[in-house]
Symmetry: C2
């Protein structure tokens, strides 16, 4: 059971970036993930959490979908 | 609090359709939705549920993102 949440700032127009991250993860891992949720937020947020653990944050980390993928991988079943 | 789940069949290649439905809903309702999750499934599933209630099912309903939007609307806060 692997549950990913991508919280994104709606007024900032981060929907496209959140969708891009989600697409990368679902393309790569498919049914090895149970779900990927886009969670609406504001105040500039763009974060990725796996099973409740934050693994990427726009305010601290480079925007690189492959980096995010590498950080999700250890949480994913085989 | 409005929580949408789109379950889609991964081996059928329904990711694109699930993403399209999700995009329509988030473009339309933004922060009036709390989250829209893509849930991985198989056996041909493509369904939309709002707060646990199934409001659209590919096996019964026409594929029309606007129809889905109209069925979600009554569940969405103002």
């Amino acid at each position: 059971m692997t549950d990913v949440e991508i919280e994104y700032c709606v007024p900032c127009g981060f929907l496209g970036r959140a969708e891009e991250i989600q697409h990368h993860l679902l393309q790569q891992f498919g049914q090895r993930l149970d779900r990927v949720a886009l969670v609406t937020g504001d105040h500039g947020v763009l974060t990725v959490s796996v099973d409740g653990e934050r693994i990427w944050d726009k305010s601290e980390d480079e925007y690189d979908p492959d980096l995010i993928l590498r950080r999700v991988r250890p949480h994913v079943g085989t």
